[in-house]
């Protein structure tokens, strides 16, 4: 009895670990795509300076915030209760 329970909890642990890993991978991919898209949308491609100017900085903040909203809207439509994170 006890052994069977142990096995089950082992399996559960593993599955949760597997899911945590997927979740992590998902976040990493989300972050990479977000970084890429906002770089494209906000940063002047001529790269005349090595600093981000004020306009670029506020564009980045708003871009991240809007991207986040989009993940929430889509998450809601897909019927997941949790926030995307």
């Amino acid at each position: 009895m006890a052994a069977a329970k142990d096995v089950r909890s082992e399996l559960e642990k593993e599955m949760m670990f597997g899911m945590a890993e997927k979740e992590m991978e998902y976040r990493v991919e989300l972050f990479n795509r977000l970084t890429h898209v906002c770089f494209e949308k906000c940063i002047d491609k001529r790269h005349k300076e090595g600093e981000l100017n004020m306009g670029e900085n506020s564009c980045i903040d708003r871009c991240v915030s809007k991207y986040w909203q989009v993940t929430n809207i889509v998450g809601g439509m897909l019927g997941t209760q949790q926030t995307p994170m």
Binding site: V37, K66, Q69
Partner: protein
């Protein structure tokens, strides 16, 4: 294989978000989506899901060698 499917669905989710964000959001004067952007995102996501279901069906038919007229 289950893990692959799960990874796949998470990737699909990420691809959907990126596609619809790119298509619908282009101005960054505010940090929240305006009404128009939000409804564009909703319609885009709906279409993306329907699109990918249709692609999946056609893809499965071709995998099974079902011939269909032009």
């Amino acid at each position: 294989i289950e893990q692959l499917q799960m990874r796949d669905s998470l990737r699909m989710y990420n691809a959907l978000v990126e596609t619809c964000f790119k298509d619908c959001v282009d101005t960054f004067r505010r940090k929240t989506l305006d009404k128009q952007e939000e409804s564009c995102v909703r319609r885009c996501a709906e279409k993306f899901l329907k699109h990918s279901m249709r692609v999946g069906m056609r893809f499965a038919e071709l995998n099974q060698g079902v011939a269909t007229p032009d």
